[in-house]
């Protein structure tokens, strides 16, 4: 993306920012060490680099300024100028101006102003030697100690004026210098051109201007006479003189410029002699290249040379020649970088000079010999000094002189070390070398990409925890299994790897804080001068790494704090002397890791914080009352300084005193969830410690639930969790407090802060105790869930930041939990209008599906909020859908008609029944008793009220009838049929909502479920291994439907019939197909007998089955009677066998509807289904269900 200066904007910014920092740091070094040539070179190099990059991106005026600066620096290099405070300040001024432009670019503004004042100042200084009078002694000391340029020391040859021949247009000294520069940069020649247009030519000025335009694409118009701007102003212009820098030759220029109107053209190339003496500027390498080079150098040993080869101007095929030279030298050396590049050379070039860096074992002499081939005009071979110049100083003391004199007298001739052999080892450098670790290769990565990675890893961790949960569920369902254990192993492994991955990625975002620290050397120097105090800055722990965001931010708070320390904290030398302190004050910056936090400390040995004054000011400003002031701890008092507008300064200075700084500091620190700790001893000094949590994306937290909403307290803030009784909470001035082992803490109700209603009448509640600003406080919550690790997602992405919340997090199962922000919560308690009118009602529990126990949709007390109402309604809809779908599932062809609250269907059903009722039904059974039964059942009530038990009891008797009995029975039956007919009529009129409702069936299901579970338990004990019985699906079916389910009408079935007596009368019939029955009983008997073929069941099998039926029915009856608190007694089971129909008839359900429950036996991985027909007296059943609450 192109920036304000085009596509290289980003690059320019990075490089130039670094260079300015370097310049500043180096200049400081230079101040204390005037004559160190290395420092001077570094400064020069940086300035030069800056100049070219500025020119490259089009900041020509900046480039100009840098150039002028360079001249000054050059003079310093030549010992023509001495380093004194004035000069240094001048240069600093210059740097600042440059910084302004760079910052502006950073902000998106192209600031290309000229700097006439600065340039004048620079030029004046250059000319006059010094502004405030130099000190000759210094000059001599430095000059005497600077070594003569000899090869061992890596100083380039001193500059001598480039000898450029005079041309048509006169150029002064400076211009010649510039011209030389330009020529070298572009590797082009300077050509003087004179053009005279014919006398009578119209608009000469414009024509001359046009010529210039034509020339511009192929070169640079260095200077023109008259000036370009003047050309268009009109007036008689006789001739145009210009100096043109180009690679074009004279022929080509002539062609461009010539036209019919041209009277005379003169083109002369300026010759530049003595190029050999011209300054050899070695290739500039950026950070990475330098580092690479050093790596190479270290691994290969040998020497590094900067080499420049200049061929004679008239050499043919220069490109080829250069290529050959390089080839020759490549035999046993490495060419690290060359200008121009090798590709360009191969293509052919007219350039006559080649600069490159060589890494070789050869000595200088050998190198020279290899390269000095025919046609080589000049060769310059300089050893390269591989010093990591770009890095700022590590743990060192920068003493800043308070007075000028000290500067010169303090450092007597610091002779650089005697010719140290530079080739073999790294030459000594004054700048303390950084650890080797700093020179490792680096790669720039956009922080966006890192953020994205962090995000993904966070998701990975969450998904992993999901796996864990699934594993737990599996174990619960299937028990232990080797496969499952393997799974667990893998899950744990993935967990570990993803956690490692996460901390690794986090580390990529960490940068050492040293880069920030080093900026302050300059500040301290300036401040100490301004305040006339002696200050020394000590930097420690620069290698401590922090998340880049924090490092970027922390500059400002540190700035304020340092300012404060120097301005208010440190005393003047006189004052210090009085208190027997050394007259040099110390400001110490330190960074270290403390537990899970990173601490950044600013310590000074000044006068410390004045508690009394702070307190007084606080009371004055109304931050605390006189009375409360008594209870404040030292730390509390110190914390007042962070209040906006707070200052105890008697006067406002330029630097500080307005009371803004500390407030800003506090806010910035809090934004990053950090805190500031203050320690101070009056008279001795003060220490401010900024404490930041290591930016962990995974935050361990304590989960609490508030009415099914889950909130997380970051574990780092939680001190303790306890249960508190109502009596332990007291009220003090409207605020609730409580006593924790002698300590009195304020206690807040979390529900109030988050807008939920109070839970009344609670005796005891859980409380989470947190740390806040070194105080403790408690939050009352509804329920504690436990510890959990969450990856926090910000809410700001799609929404906005909510006060009181740091963000949200997604749990393994997809639920969203909200992560609390303690300071935010506290603020809310002060700000929020607590709504006492919040009320709640019972609403459906959302999480019922997740509870492993009863799946009854319990209700829970919930506050009436829009969300809760919405969720509740949604849940209702979902459940009703679910149950409807479940009902639909139980049949293949005809759906058993189920009672639901759908009025239409019910009406239909009633109609159906009435028609059936009135028709005469043919029987297929030959049994007379069954005929009677049929008659009876014909007149049985329709589905609204299912068969009465009394009726069914009768058939028992009639089946045993003798002739007399038969007559008796006939009588009874007649009366019965009358009765039932009446009842039926009554039934039809019965309103539909008195039918067995969904709810009632639900309740029944639950109870029966308990029964079947119990049965399962008993069976398991009997059999000796796990038998599970699953909840019967209760459906209303009729005989036909059930019969239709059986594929083979002749398949053999048998059933166990058990009668119920007591408060509920009726029958239970357990039907098994022979096949299934055999299977089941064999399984349970663990018999290997393959008796599935036998038609008749063995006695053993039969007894097993009857036992099973017994147990199941008994359990259900038991369950019913327990829950409804009624008495129901089961009878001895009776075995019935035959076809399905026959068996079914044993309980005479006939055409009426009845409750059928499918029971699943799960044993040894097999599911076997038996069918249980439940036929109670339905009136009684309804009553019983009513009792089931």
């Amino acid at each position: 993306m192109a920036g304000i200066l085009g596509e290289y904007t980003e690059l320019f910014l990075e490089e130039s920012e670094d260079q300015i920092e370097e310049l500043n740091a180096n200049l400081l070094k230079l101040e204390s060490d005037h004559s160190n040539p290395d420092i001077i070179n570094d400064i020069f190099r940086a300035a030069h680099s800056l100049k070219s990059s500025a020119a490259f991106v089009g900041l020509l005026n900046l480039s100009d300024l840098a150039h002028k600066m360079e001249n000054l620096l050059q003079k310093i290099r030549e010992d023509k100028l001495s380093v004194n405070v004035t000069l240094v300040n001048l240069l600093f001024e210059c740097f600042d101006l440059i910084k302004v432009v760079i910052d502006a670019v950073g902000q998106g503004e192209k600031l290309d102003t000229t700097f006439p004042e600065m340039i004048t100042k620079l030029q004046n200084y250059e000319k006059e030697g010094s502004v405030a009078g130099s000190t000759p002694p210094t000059k001599s000391t430095t000059s005497s100690s600077s070594p003569a340029p000899s090869t061992p020391v890596a100083t380039p040859k001193p500059i001598s004026k480039p000898v450029i021949s005079e041309g048509l247009l006169h150029l002064d000294e400076l211009e010649i210098l510039d011209l030389d520069e330009e020529m070298r940069i572009r590797n082009a020649s300077a050509i003087d051109i004179k053009v005279v247009l014919k006398e009578n030519t119209q608009m000469k000025g414009s024509r001359y201007a046009l010529m210039l335009e034509l020339l511009k694409p192929s070169g640079v118009i260095f200077k023109t006479q008259p000036e370009e701007d003047d050309l268009l102003k009109g007036g008689e212009i006789n001739e145009l003189l210009l100096v043109y820098i180009t690679q074009l030759d004279e022929e080509e220029i002539n062609r461009i410029v010539h036209s019919d109107l041209v009277e005379e053209i003169k083109i002369e190339t300026r010759s530049v002699s003595n190029t050999s003496a011209s300054e050899f500027i070695p290739l500039n390498l950026d950070q990475d290249e330098l580092a690479e080079l050093e790596e190479e150098f270290k691994s290969r040993k040998g020497n590094v040379f900067d080499i420049r080869v200049v061929l004679k101007t008239d050499t043919p095929m220069k490109g080829l020649r250069f290529t050959l030279i390089l080839q020759n030298i490549k035999q046993n050396s490495i060419i690290y970088k060359s200008n121009p590049d090798i590709e360009i050379l191969e293509r052919g070039t007219e350039l006559n000079s080649l600069t490159f860096i060589l890494l070789t074992d050869m000595s200088i002499e050998d190198v020279k010999k290899t390269i000095s081939v025919d046609m080589v005009d000049y060769l310059n071979v300089e050893p390269r000094n591989l010093v990591s110049t770009a890095k700022p100083l590590s743990a060192h003391e920068t003493s800043t002189p308070a007075h000028q004199e000290n500067a010169t007298s303090a450092k007597p001739s610091q002779t650089p070390s005697a010719p140290a052999p530079p080739k073999k080892e790294k030459p000594q450098a004054v700048a303390a070398d950084k650890d080797d670790s700093k020179l490792t290769k680096s790669i720039k990565v956009s922080s966006e990409k890192l953020d994205q990675l962090m995000n993904n890893v966070g998701e990975l961790v969450i998904t992993n925890s999901g796996f864990q949960k699934i594993y737990d569920d599996l174990v619960r369902t299937f028990g232990d299994d080797t496969t499952l254990t393997e799974l667990k192993g893998k899950i744990d492994q993935i967990n570990r790897i993803s956690k490692d991955l996460q901390s690794g990625i986090m580390n990529t975002r960490m940068v050492p804080i040293g880069s920030v620290f080093n900026r302050f050397s300059r500040l301290v120097r300036d401040l100490s001068m301004e305040t006339h105090k002696k200050v020394q800055l000590i930097l420690l722990g620069e290698n401590t790494e922090l998340d880049k965001k924090v490092v970027d931010m922390i500059g400002e708070p540190l700035l304020h704090l340092i300012r404060n320390s120097i301005d208010h904290g440190l005393e003047t030398p006189e004052e210090r002397a009085k208190t027997s302190k050394s007259d040099m004050g110390t400001v110490e910056l330190n960074a270290y890791q403390g537990g899970n936090n990173i601490m950044v400390e600013i310590k000074d040995d000044g006068r410390g914080l004045n508690k009394g004054r702070i307190l007084k000011k606080a009371i004055e400003n109304g931050l605390v009352t006189q009375a409360d002031a008594q209870n404040l701890s030292d730390n509390d008092i110190f914390q007042f300084i962070f209040a906006a507008g707070f200052s105890t300064a008697a006067e406002v200075t330029d630097i500080s005193g307005r009371g803004v700084g500390m407030n800003v500091v506090n806010k910035l620190v809090q934004d990053f969830k950090g805190k500031i700790l203050i320690n101070s001893v009056e008279g001795q000094g003060a220490t401010f410690t900024l404490c930041f949590p290591q930016a962990l994306a995974i935050i361990p937290s304590i989960l609490v639930s508030m009415e099914e909403e889950i909130y997380a307290f970051p574990l780092s803030e939680v001190f303790e969790t306890i249960r508190v009784k109502k009596e332990q909470i007291n009220t003090l001035e409207g605020h609730e407090i409580f006593n924790l082992r002698g300590e009195v803490l304020p206690i807040y109700r979390l529900n109030k802060i988050i807008g939920l209603s109070d839970k009344k009448d609670l005796e005891e509640f859980p409380v989470v105790i947190v740390n806040f600003n070194s105080r403790k406080l408690g939050f009352i919550v509804d329920d504690m869930i436990g510890k959990h690790e969450t990856v926090i997602k910000t809410l700001e992405k799609n929404f906005r930041n909510i006060p009181g919340l740091t963000g949200a997090s997604i749990m393994g199962d997809g639920t969203i939990i909200l992560v609390l922000d303690i300071p935010g919560l506290i603020e809310l308690t002060n700000v929020i209008k607590i709504d006492d009118t919040l009320e709640g009602i019972e609403m459906l529990r959302l999480n019922s599906s997740r509870s492993s126990d009863n799946t009854v949709t319990e209700k829970i007390y919930k506050t009436i909020t829009s969300t809760n109402l919405y969720n509740s309604r949604l849940l209702e809809m979902v459940l009703s859908d679910k149950s409807r779908r479940k009902k639909d599932k139980s049949s293949e062809r005809k759906k058993p008609i189920v009672i639901v609250h759908e009025k239409e269907t019910e009406e239909e059903e009633i109609q159906e029944e009435i028609t059936i009722e009135s028709s005469i039904v043919e029987h297929d059974s030959s049994d007379t008793s069954s005929r009677i039964e049929t008659e009876i059942s014909q007149s049985e009530e329709p589905i609204e009220e299912l068969g009465t038990t009394t009726m069914q009891e009768e058939p028992e008797n009639s089946s045993e009838e003798d002739d007399d009995g038969r007559n008796q029975a006939k009588e009874m039956l007649k009366s019965f049929s009358e009765q039932t007919k009446q009842r039926v009529e009554a039934m039809i009129d019965r309103p539909i909502d008195q039918l067995l409702s969904n709810q009632e069936i639900r309740k029944l299901e639950t109870v029966v479920n308990t029964g079947t579970m119990n049965a399962g338990l008993v069976l398991s004990q009997l059999v000796g291994s796990n038998v599970d019985l699953f909840m019967p699906e209760i459906a209303l079916t009729d005989k036909d439907i059930l019969v239709d389910l059986i594929r083979d009408p002749y398949e053999h079935f048998f059933g166990l019939k058990i009668r119920m007596n007591g408060d509920l009368n009726g029958n239970l019939l357990m039907i098994f197909s022979e096949e299934k029955g055999n299977e089941l009983s064999n399984k349970l008997l663990k018999s290997n007998e393959n008796s599935t073929l036998a038609k008749k069941l063995s006695d053993d099998n039969l007894s097993v089955l009857s036992e099973i039926s017994n147990i199941v029915c008994a359990s259900i009856i038991n369950s019913l009677s327990n829950k409804a608190k009624v008495q129901i007694m089961p009878s001895v089971p009776e075995l019935v066998s035959g076809t399905f129909r026959e068996v079914l008839d044993a309980v005479k359900p006939e055409k009426t509807k009845f409750l059928s429950m499918n029971t699943e036996f799960v044993y040894d991985g097999d599911n076997l289904i038996g069918n249980l027909i439940f036929l109670p007296d339905f009136d009684e059943l309804v009553q019983l269900i009513a009792k089931l609450n």
Partner: protein
């Protein structure tokens, strides 16, 4: 040479009439439209996690495949009552200015194409309730659709 008769004024003036697609939906018996380009997806109502201390029409947030997005009850936002959740209620997930959020609506109708020329700016006289979010009204055949200006919708969130 053929003379083509056409009712379309745009053709006769030789202009190309841009057709914009809108997703139409119903809230309190009015039909609204949102530029389809902003519609990310349409969901059946999902469970929403309440967020404390937000505006009353923000029902909360929900987990949309790992992303946490806020859900707004559009009817309530129009300063009326809450939307009745029925089988045809839906949540429209919109994406605007790289923010995703959901709107609860009573019923999602269909995608309609409206010619730019059929979109007209309205003043306060129409639908008093929603006018701070509606700038334009579009006509598709006989149907009048109130077009929601997402800028206004978001700024009020």
């Amino acid at each position: 040479m053929q003379v083509t008769e056409s009712n379309d004024t745009s053709e006769s003036t030789g202009q190309v009439d841009e057709i914009i697609q809108f997703l139409s939906f119903a809230v309190s018996n009015e039909i609204f439209g949102i530029d389809l380009i902003h519609v990310h997806e349409i969901l059946r109502p999902v469970f929403i996690t309440r967020v404390p201390n937000v505006e009353v029409y923000v029902l909360g947030v929900t987990n949309l495949r790992g992303e946490i997005i806020p859900i707004v009850d559009l009817k309530k936002k129009f300063e009326q009552d809450f939307t009745e959740i029925t089988k045809i209620s839906r949540i429209i997930v919109l994406e605007f200015n790289s923010k995703r959020f959901g709107l609860v609506v009573e019923e999602v109708k269909q995608v309609i194409k409206i010619k730019k020329s059929s979109i007209s700016f309205i003043n306060n006289q129409l639908s008093m309730d929603f006018n701070h979010m509606i700038d334009n009204v579009g006509r598709s055949g006989d149907l009048i659709v109130l077009l929601i200006d997402l800028n206004k919708l978001i700024s009020l969130t």
